[in-house]
């Protein structure tokens, strides 16, 4: 039971949904795994809840190597990784990020788009999406626009979304063969938000070797560390270079101390994790 009352509508078309969302204190709902928790705690008090799950357009999924992956906002986390093999095959870092969101039940309701719109610094899907240069397609009564994920988050719980605007779909280009890891450090292995999360994706690992790195829970928003990527570009992956790469990541993050870990611990892990992940992927040259 939620302690206050509100109205609920489930429109069948985007147009009707956008009309409803223009009303005062109207909130969209997908899986509700963030929204309902906040409503139960009284932290968010909608007057109107607009359920987007009857809008067919929000359930499209499409992949080709030429145009990449596009999926609608309605796609549940587990549906994406269990029913569309190409997510695992062509976006391995994202696959791993999705797989560690909450428990199995959470992933049967929750969505990638809900995870992004919630804009938690601890989002487990954002780091991988940052490494894959994802873009979000937004729509409102004023029209549509596309926003790069690097520009979507503006602070904890804050995004560039305007009143009445929703995310319609996510597009991820396919930039070529890639390998990757999403590694989540948390207090317990079962269901917990990250103390720190790191996505490391390597596009064309046997050729040009474009290394991308993004983190959760070390800054007010999930962040990609372009400076470290530029440093390592074209360099041999000797231990010395990798350590310097890791040092730049360490120096670029600005974590806080909270119930899940101290700022010092997070900074240390920001340096250790890239070395660990590159070693696991057998990318570091032997010897010193």
């Amino acid at each position: 039971m939620i302690t206050f009352s509100y109205d609920y509508v489930k429109p069948k078309t985007l147009n009707e949904a956008l009309d409803a969302l223009n009303e005062d204190d109207a909130y969209p709902i997908l899986g509700g795994t963030d929204l309902i928790v906040k409503m139960r705690a009284g932290r968010v008090k909608p007057k109107l809840v607009v359920d987007l799950k009857s809008i067919d357009e929000l359930f499209h999924v499409d992949f080709s190597k030429e145009s990449g992956l596009t999926f609608g906002a309605g796609l549940k986390l587990n549906v994406l990784i269990e029913e569309f093999d190409y997510v695992k095959e062509y976006y391995p870092t994202l696959y791993q990020g999705i797989r560690v969101v909450g428990g199995y039940q959470t992933r049967n309701r929750g969505t990638v788009v809900g995870n992004l719109c919630n804009a938690s610094p601890a989002s487990d899907t954002a780091p991988a999406l940052l490494t894959y240069n994802a873009e979000l397609n937004l729509i409102s009564k004023n029209g549509e626009r596309t926003v790069k994920i690097t520009e979507f988050f503006t602070g904890p719980g804050k995004t560039v979304l305007e009143k009445g605007e929703i995310v319609k779909s996510v597009h991820i280009p396919f930039e070529g063969e890639n390998i990757g890891r999403y590694y989540k450090v948390s207090r317990i292995k079962a269901v917990d938000l990250s103390t720190i999360g790191m996505a490391l994706t390597i596009i064309d690992p046997d050729g040009t070797r474009d290394i991308r790195v993004a983190l959760a829970s070390v800054a007010p928003t999930p962040i990609r560390i372009f400076k470290a990527e530029e440093f390592i570009k074209g360099k041999e992956l000797t231990m010395k270079n990798v350590e310097e790469f890791a040092q730049i990541i360490h120096d670029s993050v600005n974590p806080i101390t909270d119930a899940r870990g101290t700022a010092e611990y997070r900074k240390r892990m920001a340096k250790i994790l890239p070395i660990k992940l590159l070693r696991e992927m057998k990318m570091i040259k032997e010897g010193l």
């Binding site: 799950k53 428990g103 039940q105 309701r109």
Partner: protein, 156 residues
């Protein structure tokens, strides 16, 4: 508002308010009290029901969202006086003490075994990670799930 959905193969129509959860409706309007409220926040899994074939936390489903859904609760498992093989397996391995978590574990197990009849330990742990038990220490629950898989025809 009135909603209709299917619960344990029966169509039901219930009068609900938008600020009730599916768990509230199951327990307080349909008297299906197997699903329990532990945390009310999606963290413990005591309220797990199978919802359109997948296990979900019914404390995080708004009642009106359930319009048209096909729902299974632990009450739907027994046929006459016969327990479901998963229930037998939990009994035979003593996989509970207070029992508060058990309906949730059983529903997560059922949903898993329907898709993965012979799960590895890793799969079991991943699929049941959203169900907490404060009593047993989990090892007997793992035994119960393995025994249930055997009883239901999955190979050892």
């Amino acid at each position: 508002m009135k909603i209709t959905f299917t619960v344990n193969n029966e169509n039901v129509e219930v009068d609900v308010k938008p600020n009730e959860t599916l768990l509230d409706v199951l327990r307080e309007k349909l008297y299906l009290t197997g699903a329990k409220e532990g945390c009310g926040n999606g963290e413990c899994g005591a309220c797990t029901v199978i919802y359109n074939g997948r296990p979900v936390n019914s404390c995080l489903v708004l009642a009106p969202e359930a319009e048209g859904a096909v729902i299974e609760t632990v009450e739907g498992l027994t046929k006459g006086n016969n327990l479901h093989p998963i229930q037998e397996a939990f009994l035979e391995t003593n996989a509970f003490q207070c029992g508060y978590c058990t309906p949730g574990f059983i529903m997560s197990t059922k949903a898993m075994l329907e898709k993965v009849p012979n799960p590895t330990k890793e799969v079991i742990v991943e699929r049941l990670a959203g169900n907490l038990c404060r009593c047993t220490g989990y090892t007997v629950i793992l035994d119960a799930v393995k025994l249930a898989a055997q009883k239901m025809g999955g190979a050892e």
